[in-house]
Symmetry: C2
Subunit: 149 residues, 2 copies
């Protein structure tokens, strides 16, 4: 049997951007997230706070729940979460509990991102990779908010 | 028409403790939460992380979602959340987004509670009341963990 193909962080971030586009098309703030295990996408999600009338329905939260359903277990050890925007404090707290192995971030969020706290809120075993396809991730958010004006 | 009865914080905390007991009976870490609007309980929830295989299924998260469903709107302005244990960082982040008016807390959580961050993570408009029926809330957690040994 062939080994699963190994793709770059940019490749996976584009999958997360596709999710963000689905959010934008639905009038939602365009943030997308996917979870990858063994080089396979096991969960895809986008922000649905408006659609579900639920402030907790951020892309990362839905992706964590979906990945756990797929795995049949609560913990995302050996998983990578790709997200187009730096997680907020709620999502960082959820990622802590998930024990996710790695978080790959597109655009930074200098207003609401977890790193603005200046405190270690993620799990000590979680690796963080910043700035992957960040221009595209930022552009998607900027065009969305420009369209609202 | 009669006005709805006004109960004490302790009275509502006992409702949250009833939810915590349901969690304990299901083998879940016993934390319960309710949301009150106009003196009426509009949402009840308990920790279901094991049952739902989902680290995000804390009592507060489920209560926020349930209260928003009841109200038909995302924001919990004019609502009070009663919770038997100090919210973790994830739940505090969610409560920030909900703009909940007031949070009433039973037992403090010196290990994982949001206040351990020493940063203002809740919404500036959210009032916090500590230490309501805290002995009972603590006892429920202690007996649960004692039973596990």
């Amino acid at each position: 049997m062939n080994k699963p193909a190994v793709y770059s962080h940019e490749w996976y971030m584009h999958k997360a951007l596709q999710e963000a586009q689905i959010a934008a098309d639905a009038g939602e703030v365009p943030v997308g997230a996917i979870v990858v295990a063994n080089n396979k996408v096991i969960a895809r999600a986008h922000n649905q706070t408006q659609t579900l009338t639920d402030v907790t329905a951020h892309a990362e939260m839905l992706a964590i729940t979906s990945a756990a359903n797929h795995l049949g277990g609560k913990y995302l050890t050996n998983c990578t979460l790709y997200v187009t925007l730096e997680p907020c404090i709620m999502c960082a707290g959820a990622l802590f509990w998930s024990q996710v192995s790695r978080i790959v971030i597109g655009a930074a969020d200098p207003k609401r991102g977890f790193s603005t706290l200046g405190k270690p809120v993620l799990h000590p075993k979680t690796e963080v990779i910043w700035d992957i396809a960040s221009d595209e991730c930022t552009d998607m958010l900027l065009s969305f908010f420009k369209g609202l004006r």
